[in-house]
């Protein structure tokens, strides 16, 4: 072999080695990590991450497509309220004209399943080794399980049978999952809340931070899921090895005997607390928290009080005004369902006035409204109040008749910091009374629970005012049906209560009659009936074979091979 050949081989060898080196190094060079996010395996490593993860999960509750807007829109379509805008058919589930592709039907489902996927990741990847105290670990795990149970509870209220996902989404095959029977779903919800009830902190624990879940809230949710199991569609006489009414009653009793929970002495203050950013942990077991962060550029505000607020229309600049662009009007039933002395609740829930500001009334003007007037709106989450309510005569036209209630001021025209209650103690009392009545009729403890609520509203005990109502199980049930409307209206309960009780059709009939035969309609102007027909669209279009649960979103049906659309859709 000549030197030249050796040299050639040597050179070629070097060349090949060099190429190999380039190839190896280029594979490394192509390994890039995201610059602005965590890769999944690095997340949940410390408490900072965990707090961010919990906030992320909670944001599915507060978002526009959760309790921020969508649920409230879809909760219309009962005797409680009607949709105020004739032309607006967004979120048509509230007027029973939805279809599988409708915005709300899709948005709520996707949002809450997004929350569930984040919970499932959390539950799977949180590592006990990162915690000194097992109690802390269990508290965090309990919170994630509470929230997963909460998402599933609301999803099953709306959709009944749904896919039960307890593992994070893995790959494309995760698309395909059959819906589980409601009984299986309820059982899973019970398991999650039971874990939360046993492991979450009490709201009165020194380490508790308001806004998070707590053990008594979990008990309340257990009572709720048991009552749901007892009603439509499952009508279970036994679930989780228990009589659902007994279980509901027991869980309510745990809360009532806990010693920390009681009713706020003023019904109005309960809501002023939400409006003015105060947590009242004895009355409110769980709420969605919002804060108007617009001044700091933070996206943490909500729309409670804006779309479901007391009407305040402005023709001109809306800057720093507590504007309400309302979507929801109370049904005329609110004009007669309250007892005569129940004016505190009646006027707070249903103020029967609204305000305008325009060039003729530069300071604004408050005008009385009746149930069919445009701008007749609910008052529970009002951003402002009238300085001279409708029954007080105005003394000085020049004075500003409008007081802003919301804090801090100046307010933002659209974004509010008003919290939204999810579980109140009065709900617990009424669930207790309902469960006890189903078990044993109107017992003294059941009536006493209702009386606590009546007394707080400033009215006498039921036995004194309406002795008939406590005379038997059915009568007392009817009383509870009405009482839940008076006490808890516009808090998202009515539709689901009516569905589990099997009363939705009957109460929609009542909505229709209350509008069609409304006194102001009596001296009928031609066209009046036509012009008001949109107010009972929910009744006109109601189909009991289709409207007791939502259809599955179109996209779910298209992609999920193991799920078929419900009949009739």
């Amino acid at each position: 072999m000549t030197m030249k050949k050796i040299k050639t081989i040597y050179t070629k060898g070097l060349l090949i080695l060099g190429l190999l080196a380039i190839c190896t190094s280029c594979s490394d060079a192509l390994e890039l990590e995201p610059e602005t996010t965590w890769a999944a395996e690095e997340f949940y490593g410390n408490e900072t991450d965990i707090n961010a993860a919990l906030a992320g999960i909670h944001s599915h509750l507060s978002s526009y497509n959760g309790f921020g807007f969508t649920i409230q829109q879809m909760a219309m379509g009962t005797d409680e309220s009607y949709k105020l805008k004739s032309w607006n058919e967004r979120f048509p589930a509230g007027i029973m004209s939805h279809n599988p592709a409708s915005e709300g039907v899709t948005a709520l489902y996707q949002n809450f399943y997004g929350g569930i996927n984040n919970c499932n990741n959390f539950i799977k990847y949180i590592d006990p080794a990162n915690f000194e105290e097992e109690e802390d670990y269990n508290n965090f795990l309990g919170e994630a399980r509470f929230l997963r149970g909460f998402f599933y509870y609301h999803l099953t209220l709306w959709y009944n049978e749904i896919p039960l996902r307890l593992e994070p989404t893995k790959d494309q095959s995760s698309n395909h999952m059959a819906p589980s029977p409601v009984e299986v779903i309820y059982q899973q919800i019970i398991d999650d809340f039971t874990f939360a009830a046993e492991n979450c902190r009490s709201a009165f624990d020194a380490k508790y931070v308001p806004g998070h879940t707590n053990s008594m809230a979990a008990h309340a949710m257990l009572a709720k899921i048991y009552l749901k199991a007892a009603g439509y569609p499952l009508q279970a006489s036994e679930i989780n090895g228990k009589n659902p009414y007994q279980a509901a009653k027991d869980h309510c009793a745990i809360i009532m005997n806990d010693g920390n929970h009681s009713l706020n002495s003023s019904y109005k203050d309960v809501f002023l607390n939400y409006i003015q950013n105060r947590f009242d942990l004895s009355e409110t077991l769980f709420e969605v928290a919002y804060s108007n962060g617009t001044a700091l550029g933070l996206n943490i505000g909500g729309r409670i009080g804006s779309f479901n607020g007391l009407f305040y229309g402005i023709n001109g600049s809306r800057i720093n005004e507590p504007v309400s662009q309302p979507e929801i009007s109370p049904g005329p039933v609110h004009e007669y369902i309250y007892e005569e002395n129940d004016s505190l609740r009646s006027h707070w829930n249903n103020p029967r006035y609204g305000a305008n500001k325009n060039k003729w009334n530069p300071n604004g003007v408050v005008t009385p409204k009746n149930a069919l007037d445009w701008g007749y709106t609910i008052g529970k989450f009002r951003r402002w109040d009238a300085a001279y309510p409708w029954d007080i005569e105005k003394t000085n036209e020049q004075l500003n008749p409008i007081i802003t209630l919301e804090t801090p001021t100046p307010v933002n025209q659209n974004i509010t910091g008003i919290n939204f209650p999810l579980i109140r103690f009065s709900d617990v009392l009424l669930m207790f009374a309902e469960a006890a009545n189903e078990l044993d009729g109107p017992t003294a403890e059941a009536v006493a629970a209702v009386d606590l609520i009546r007394n707080r509203a400033g009215i006498e005990n039921l036995a004194i005012v309406k002795p008939d109502a406590v005379a038997g199980k059915d009568a007392f049930f009817s009383e509870i049906v009405d009482e839940r409307l008076r006490e808890l209206c516009f808090e998202g309960h009515r539709k689901h209560d009516l569905i589990r009780w099997g009363l939705l059709e009957e109460k929609l009939q009542e909505l229709y009659e209350s509008i069609y035969y409304y006194p102001a309609m009596g001296n009928t102007k031609a066209g009046n009936h036509a012009a008001n027909a949109y107010k009972y669209r929910a009744y006109t279009r109601f189909d009991p074979s289709k409207h007791l649960s939502l259809p599955y979103p179109e996209q779910e049906v298209l992609i999920n091979n193991l799920l078929d659309q419900k009949p009739g859709w």
């Binding site: 004209s97 489902y109 996927n117 395909h176 308001p210 001044a295 003729w360 974004i415 066209g527 036509a530």
Partner: protein, 1050 residues
């Protein structure tokens, strides 16, 4: 010269007597009878040949059976059988087909006649003569198989260039641009000065693009800019032009009288068609209090907001370039500017370019080339679409043309009160004021530097390294002053926002080429390696509620309401190895090309990182075969065939990694003080097997040139199939994700394309050259996501969601979707019975299809496709096809003495346009005081029943179409058009001894006239993207342009 010829002639005669191999002599001249030196005269199928001398004379030994091939660069080759001739004089004609033109292919170049793939070139003269702001605007109608369309008329906006139909459904269909060897995925056409372009080529088929592998699937546009001139006197070129632009059409809107009349009709409809002028509180009563009587408005002029928003606009542009050099070094330098006002007030486009190119020969072996380009571009003015409820055009059309005579009347009595119970009031503000009060500007700086070093190792081997970068730094500024909807009516008040970005591409490619001629065969082999690094930075500064708008965007820190700063950064890398072999056999009669490329992308996980892209192609030059020797009228005839695989990785940089991130949409508040807690959620769900999208393409083509190249053409047929589509594919919503990037589905495209050139007349004083190109493409979805039969698409036109388009398996991507309109319900369809329900007295008769949302006389009746008696979303079908049957362009160039004229006609035939402006704004409302399109003047009323326009209100029900009912056949229009795209009339001033080399004056017009049945602004419109083609919705109208230009060389 005559003497010389004479002597030769005698010599030839003498020698011919004694030898069978005799001496042939002759003179080669061009068409103007000027002798051509350096022409090669070769005996066909041999290596024997001579060249002509300075006087065009040749002399060669040949046998009578030999064929002489007489060829010269740029001239049509001639084959002449010797026979008994001893004297052969030849006239070579200029080659209109330009078969010798050098075509830049990937990492190399080849003569057009030796191409095996499908490559289209555009003559620079054609682009240069058209007065446009950016070169891409001059391309429409000029290239077969390449659909160049503007989505709308926004000044300075890049056009859509789609090569041979779109492959991808949800990712980009933009071609790859290679600018002087620098590959760029996102290229802004404004960054090149049109007159700097030396050559413009589009690589269409896979055998041409596969060398670019992963990024070749959408075609490759290769642009080379001008270099300096070697060893000659420097040349200075100055171009200047000035233009006037006007909007070519406006939409018909209600006149003041029609507007008030419409409000009156609306009031009567709302009173359930009862005439109640005197009944207090009735809608008509309220109307009359405010508006008094429609007749009073009959002669009022009102305000025409379109007239106020569209104006005559000017554009001026100019450039200077200097090119020169000596034997070893040459340079080119140019500066240019464009200053264009938009036809829509406040809009415009300004740019400034400068380019410097140097070429230097360091030694016989080493050559250096470098180019630097800087562009400053500003795009100004309003956006036509600002979100679902807020479209600029809508605001123009909706704003009432006239004010009420009694403005305060009715306002207290429950009439429609803007801001209180009038729908959509919040979206409306005097639109012209709003535009004037809004400052929107996208300012960008683009720097492109590219260098190459070529080292000729020996006769056979050449090494070349090309390194360069392209960086765009820019910001989009947006400022709302007090006198805007935002500034005075929204919670944001006076506010401003700056979105900054920095996008950068660095690329390095290194190739080793081997060239060898062995006997009559030629080999060319190239191997190479490439590395590309893309980075992308964005940031946002925004503040709200400024106390004053006096300082505009320049002093945002005075805001009382700060917003959070946002930044984002991502990067991706691409590493590639590639090779190509060109083999030309038997004197280039048979041409073979094979390429191979391997690409590794950082966007994919290691298991799926590398994609492999081969291609093969061949060509057969039939005209060079012996049996064609006697076919004189054929100058060239070449058959081409090829197949190749190309790829696509245009997804997000980190789509293949599961990620958790904090984002602004997911915070929460905890604690008594409701403190902000940033929230983290799973932001990206990555399917584990994300990989390359691949397109296989087969191409068959034929190139020919006939009758001394008087007529030539190219015809191609192609079939493309894209597999493993990188689709933003729907997920089951219960997975927690709406859509993620996946490889699902496949799409096919097939089509014909043909281009022909011809010399109709060619004399000394007059010529007429004509060319035409025509293309067809058929697109088809072959499969989609696992189990998915269709994708429905919602363009998000307004607050109600609606699927207006569908992409179904077995049909083309993005067909228009909706109900088939039959007629309006009429009174005869109902039984009138107010006793059951006085609100809805009209009860539908049996046998007439029902609408679940209710129906009455004047509501729309659609075709009940499934015959179930109910019209619902299940009755929706494909109602329109957005794809043309064929499209193309027809160019004629004339020259008479010093005048020249070129005319370009461009057409598209058979495509539908979805007129969403009509669909949304062409039907009356029962509850708003806004104006609409003129269509609504013909709304159904009991006294106007013969119409297709729905009533305002009927049978106690609002008539407007609900979600699921909003798209129907009334809004699908034939978008066929023939457009007089460009006319240029030039005068070449005869200059002698003036110092000028040339001086040319020209007048030209763009978009002069469009013959179409389409009722909207323009049928060439596409604001919806790939899944929603030919959507016309609040598009920026096209303008007609008249220009005058001067161009001088000295």
């Amino acid at each position: 010269m005559i003497n010389k010829t004479y002597i030769f002639l005698i010599a030839v005669l003498i020698s011919a007597i004694g030898y069978s191999q005799s001496t042939i002599t002759g003179v080669v001249k061009d068409e103007s009878n000027i002798p051509l030196p350096g022409v090669s005269v070769i005996i066909k199928n041999t290596n024997t040949g001579v060249t002509t001398d300075f006087d065009g004379i040749f002399s060669i030994q040949a046998k009578p059976e030999n064929v002489l091939t007489i060829s010269m660069l740029g001239m049509v080759t001639k084959n002449i059988k010797v026979g008994s001739q001893k004297r052969i004089d030849v006239i070579l004609k200029t080659d209109v087909a330009q078969l010798d033109e050098v075509i830049v292919i990937g990492y190399g170049s080849v003569a057009k006649k030796d191409l095996t793939g499908s490559v289209a070139t555009v003559k620079l003269k054609e682009i240069e003569e058209v007065v446009v702001a950016n070169f891409d605007e001059a391309l429409a109608g000029r290239i077969a198989g390449v659909n160049v369309t503007s989505s709308e008329g926004t000044p300075g906006e890049a056009l859509k260039i789609v090569v041979r139909g779109g492959n991808s459904i949800t990712s980009s269909n933009n071609p790859l641009y290679v600018i002087n060897g620098l590959p760029l995925e996102d290229f802004d056409p404004s960054t090149i000065n049109t007159s700097d372009i030396e050559s413009f080529q589009v690589l269409k088929d896979a055998s041409a693009t596969a060398i670019y592998g992963s990024r070749g699937a959408n075609g490759v546009v290769v642009i080379t800019t001008k270099s300096g001139k070697s060893d000659t006197k420097s040349e200075v070129t100055v171009n200047f032009s000035t233009s006037l632009q006007e909007v070519s059409k406006t939409l018909d809107v209600l006149s003041p009288y029609q507007y008030v009349k419409n409000l009156e009709t609306q009031s009567i409809a709302r009173d359930n068609w009862q005439y109640l002028p005197n009944e207090t509180g009735s809608n008509l009563y309220n109307f009359m209090k405010r508006w008094v009587d429609p007749e009073l408005y009959r002669d009022m002029e009102g305000e025409d907001f379109q007239d106020m928003a569209f104006n005559l606009a000017t554009m001026s542009q100019g450039d200077i370039s200097i090119r020169g050099g000596n034997k070893d070094t040459n340079t080119a330098f140019s500066v240019g500017f464009v200053d264009q006002d938009g036809v829509l007030i406040t809009t415009g486009f300004k740019k400034f370019n400068t380019n410097f190119t140097i070429k230097h020969k360091l030694s016989d072996k080493l050559r250096l080339w470098g180019s630097m380009n800087y562009t400053k571009a500003n795009r100004l003015g309003a956006q036509m679409r600002n979100g679902k409820g807020n479209q600029f055009l809508k605001n123009l059309l909706f704003y009432r043309p006239v004010d009420p005579l009694n403005p305060s009347g009715g306002e207290q009595e429950g009439g429609l009160i803007p801001g209180v119970n009038d729908s959509e009031y919040q979206n409306l503000f005097n639109p012209v004021e709003d535009m004037k009060g809004t400052t929107r500007e996208n300012k960008s700086h683009n720097i492109r530097v590219n260098t190459s070093l070529t080292y000729k190792i020996n006769n056979d081997f050449t090494f070349k390294t090309t390194n360069g970068f392209n960086t765009t730094i820019g910001k989009q500024e947006l400022f709302y002053s007090l006198n805007t909807q935002q500034g005075s009516r929204s919670s944001n008040g006076i506010n401003g926002r700056i979105d900054g970005y920095e996008r950068s591409t660095f690329s390095s490619s290194n190739t080793l080429a081997f060239n060898k001629t062995l006997n009559r065969n030629f080999f060319n082999v190239l191997v190479g390696q490439e590395y590309v690094h893309n980075t992308n930075w964005s940031d946002r500064l925004a503040n709200k509620n400024l106390p004053t708008d006096a300082f505009g965007i320049n002093n945002l820190d005075i805001a009382t309401q700060p917003t959070m700063a946002m930044t984002n950064y991502s990067q991706n890398k691409l590493m590639s190895f590639f090779g190509r072999a060109n083999v030309h056999l038997n004197n280039k009669k048979y041409l073979l090309t094979a390429t191979f490329r391997a690409d590794g992308s950082s966007k994919f996980r290691p298991d799926n990182r590398w994609g492999y892209f081969p291609s093969f192609s061949g060509a057969w030059k039939i005209a060079d075969e012996g049996f064609m020797d006697n076919v004189d009228f054929v100058n060239s005839l070449k058959l081409r065939a090829g197949w190749g695989l190309t790829g696509n990785n245009r997804i997000g940089d980190y789509n293949s990694i599961n990620q958790f991130g904090i984002n602004i949409w997911n915070p929460y508040v905890f604690g008594q003080g409701e403190e902000y807690q940033p929230g983290a959620v799973q932001t990206t769900f990555a399917v584990p097997d994300l990989r390359w999208e691949k397109t296989g393409q087969t191409n068959l083509g034929i190139d020919f040139s006939l009758f001394d190249s008087r007529f030539s053409g190219t015809i191609d047929y192609y079939e493309k199939k894209t597999n493993d589509l990188l689709l933003w594919a729907d997920m089951a919503l219960s997975s927690g994700f709406g859509a993620v990037a996946q490889n699902v589905g496949s799409v096919s495209n097939k089509g014909f394309e043909a281009s022909f050139w011809g010399k109709v007349a060619d004399t000394k004083n007059f010529y007429w050259h004509s060319s035409i190109n025509i293309s067809t493409n058929k697109n088809k979805v072959l499969s989609l996501n696992d189990g998915q039969e269709f994708i429905k698409s919602d363009p998000g036109l307004d607050w109600n969601s609606e699927y207006y388009y569908i992409s179904e398996v077995g049909k083309p991507v993005g067909m228009m979707y909706g109900l088939v309109f039959d007629r309006l319900y009429q009174v005869e369809d109902f039984i009138y019975d107010p006793t059951v329900d006085s609100v809805h007295p009209y009860i539908l008769k049996d046998g007439v299809a029902a609408n679940p949302h209710g129906q009455g006389p004047g509501h729309a009746l659609y075709v009940d496709q499934n015959g179930d008696g109910i019209i619902d979303q299940d009755d929706r079908v494909v109602i329109g096809d957005p794809y043309p049957k064929h499209f193309g362009g027809f160019t004629n160039n004339f020259k008479y003495k010093d005048f020249d004229l070129s005319v370009l006609l461009q057409w598209s035939y058979g495509a539908d346009v979805f007129n969403a402006n009509e669909a949304l704004w062409g039907h009356p409302s029962h509850n708003s005081s806004f104006s609409k399109l003129a269509t609504i003047a013909d709304a159904w009323t009991p006294w106007n029943t013969d119409t297709d326009v729905i009533a305002h209100y009927s049978n106690g029900l609002a008539t407007w179409p609900r979600p699921g009912y909003k798209g129907d056949t009334r809004y699908i229009e034939d978008g066929s058009y023939l457009r007089l795209k460009t006319i240029t009339l030039g005068y070449n001033v005869p200059i002698k001894k003036t110092g000028f080399k040339s001086l040319r004056l020209a007048v030209s017009g763009q978009n002069l006239h469009t013959w179409t049945k389409y009722s909207g602004f323009d049928p060439e419109v596409n604001v919806g993207g790939t899944l929603m083609p030919n959507l016309d919705y609040s598009a920026y109208p096209k303008s007609r342009t008249f220009s005058f230009s001067v161009s001088a060389k000295f």
